[in-house]
Symmetry: C2
């Protein structure tokens, strides 16, 4: 760990101390078993722990008070050297992360009085949290009392990324860009979605990173959370790839949609340009003080305008958005917070995404929006407009929107099932900085990249 990272960690701990007047105890969590106890999913420490501890230590706990960190972790058993090699001792780790004291786990029970915590996802750990703190600590349970105060304080810090975070986030963005570049290049020779996924994830693995979420690599982009990769790739298909790298725990999250043949059809190009216009308009509108929900509405309006121009929708764009007609084709939110989690701090429900006092809209066109706050410098969000022809939605609204949608005209766009363009955008003092800008998004650039395989 470099000195500057230690400085980052010390500053985070000091800032937390200025926001709460009680101790906070954060667990890193345990590995989750896959099909038997010794065959575990690759360990990933809880994000709140990572934020203050800086190291992905399995089965560790930190106690934060007055800017100091106490580490609780058991030294490896002597037999562990055979299986896991020589691993750092408790005291070595303590120095590495700038702890003021370090104890075996058995000491934790005597240091929990009056402490707040945040539930960790794995059952072994939240069971330990519940037992030690003598109150229900469950990931599904909304935080209360000092736990809620702690959650709000952590959100206040994590919402605005510090320099230490931005170094890692830029690195995650860079690896994600490389992965997409490899995938777009590979598509001309790939036979199935799985091959393209392999080209992209192999870049992530080669950088010793993990994916920050399960990749979506599909010719059926209209299935929003498609996690199947068996479809063959046809020459006329668009391939939608939503893939991100996680670097030292920090997430990247990019989507590109590209023509398998290397050439968009004219209908694909038309719709792609509508989505791209929304993408560009949203990024151009990002400034401190602007409401993210307004960025979302700008995307809706830009998409509605584009679809009116193409003759797919009928009416005034503003009216169409008011009636949620745009949401037939763009049914999700314009994006979300990005940080240690790909939906940053979503383990706390909408506490991070929604400004205090706000809650999700019941409107079809707004209910999936994951973020409703004014933008502030240091916030990192995704901007990810899309266009999808989801049979389930189209069938459901056919009679309701018989006249507002030109169904005959729409049929001409049958070769556009799903398009999404997603970048990671940092709010700056003067506007926005696209961390993933090294990856092209315009049709000529995309077509050129497909040809470069």
């Amino acid at each position: 760990m470099t000195l500057s990272l230690i400085d980052t960690l010390l500053t985070r701990r000091q800032r937390l101390a200025s926001l709460i007047n009680f101790p906070a105890i954060l667990w890193s969590g345990n590995s989750s078993p896959r099909n038997f106890p010794a065959n575990v999913y690759r360990f990933r420490a809880s994000s709140h722990f990572l934020y203050f501890a800086g190291l992905s230590l399995p089965n560790a706990v930190i106690r934060l008070e007055a800017g100091k960190l106490e580490l609780f972790i058991d030294d490896p058993k002597p037999s562990s050297a055979l299986w896991h090699g020589v691993t750092p001792t408790r005291d070595e780790i303590a120095v590495q992360i700038g702890a003021s004291a370090a104890y075996p786990m058995s000491e934790l029970a005597s240091r929990v009085d009056g402490a707040a915590t945040i539930a960790v996802q794995d059952a072994a750990t939240w069971t330990a949290q519940t037992q030690l703190l003598d109150r229900m600590v469950l990931p599904q349970l909304p935080a209360q009392g000092i736990d809620l105060e702690l959650a709000k304080a952590v959100i206040q810090l994590r919402l605005i990324h510090d320099e230490g975070a931005l170094v890692e986030l830029r690195s995650a963005a860079a690896v994600s860009v490389k992965a997409h570049t490899a995938g777009i290049k590979a598509v001309t020779t790939a036979k199935t979605e799985a091959s393209v996924r392999a080209a992209m994830e192999s870049v992530i693995i080669a950088h010793n990173c993990q994916t920050s979420y399960n990749s979506i690599v599909t010719v059926h982009g209209e299935v929003l959370h498609n996690e199947e990769y068996h479809h063959p790739i046809g020459a006329g298909d668009l391939l939608l790839a939503d893939v991100g790298a996680e670097s030292a725990g920090w997430a990247g999250d990019i989507t590109r949609t590209f023509p398998v043949s290397g050439k968009f059809s004219s209908t694909q190009l038309d719709i792609y340009n509508v989505v791209l216009a929304a993408h560009d308009a949203c990024i151009a509108a990002m400034h401190p003080g602007v409401e993210y929900a307004d960025i979302h509405l700008l995307a809706c309006k830009t998409i509605a305008e584009g679809l009116v121009d193409l003759g797919i929708l009928r009416g005034k764009p503003e009216d169409l958005v008011e009636k949620d007609v745009h949401a037939v084709f763009f049914p999700h939110g314009i994006g979300h917070l990005l940080g240690l989690d790909v939906h940053d701090m979503e383990d706390l429900g909408d506490l991070a995404g929604y400004e205090e006092g706000r809650e999700r809209s019941a409107r079809f066109g707004l209910g999936y929006l994951r973020l409703s706050r004014p933008l502030r410098p240091g916030m990192l969000v995704t901007i990810e407009p899309g266009f999808y022809q989801v049979p389930a939605i189209l069938n459901a609204v056919r009679s309701q929107y018989q006249y507002l949608i030109d169904w005959e005209r729409l049929e001409q766009f049958a070769d556009v099932r799903g398009i999404r363009i997603e970048d990671d955008v940092l709010v700056t003092q003067t506007g926005a900085d696209v961390l993933t800008k090294a990856l092209p998004a315009t049709p000529p650039e995309i077509e050129e990249l497909v040809g470069a395989g």
Copy 2:
């Protein structure tokens, strides 16, 4: 699902019915959350469920009685079509897997009387198991009563692979072979372990498979469960890769060790040939009726002989094995059962690995042996002898084995940190069939493959 797979499933259910006279209820399990509830590790159904149901269905339950299967699963919510596309209905799945009846999950509570089960790994599911069956069902808890009877019956079936299983196991072996081939070819241009891992896992991803366990790809083969990939690769290094593909839930598991330069040093070649001799001797000795523990001892003896010949050990090989001196360099077992799980049925502790009435030895050289049964046709095991210079072990035994180990001679083999050669071997009526034999293991073949990058 093909007709022959349905036949396989029906036969398995009939066989189970002939072994138990009570109903069995098996849960598939739920996805485990990673850093927040919506960001889950890729779902993998419980192996016992997969064995009888044939499909990896999240959050499903089957009830087996008298050869019939009842399916319990909830139909997807209408809103799920947006996120997950059109998924099969309960009735469609029922037809697919040859169920005799299918119900919503709410019906399960009325069908649990007198039923046995096997604990699933994820907490949400074992909590549901515990509640519905009104007794503690925990993965850590040894099975008792009818649960134990069920476990033994399932083991009896799963120990001997049927044709349906072998089709998938051969497929997993074939993909694993391709992954290793790609890794060995890539090593000359790779700069880090992570790059070689990427080359191997990308083959697995491209075949739409998963890894059956966390890959080991390391220049520090002496760390047995090394799951770090950041080390640079040096020209004089050996790279040890223990990587396996999982195909439709069935596991492959291969290890190869190869010289980064494409050429073994003479000391590396000497030790490699000792390990290879053990590997070949074990496979040649495999026949129905032979004790797997004796195969392990044969490996120990062959390794001891080889190390005596090289002047590293002093004494008679038999005596050295009796004194566990071989275990200084070969501290693990010769292998394990392989099937749906990479350590097949290890979720049941040693119930599957150890013949009834046997238990693990307290001896250093035998305690890590995961399998102690007579071989029977249809059993699939790994054969994976190795040689490691583990500093922790060498330091611990230095005075104890001052004369039995020629420590000066050993120093000449400093460029051999860890070697393992592992194949997947099926017991046949007449001997053994190496499912992974398409991947070469001899030094000239390995050297040729490294050059083919």
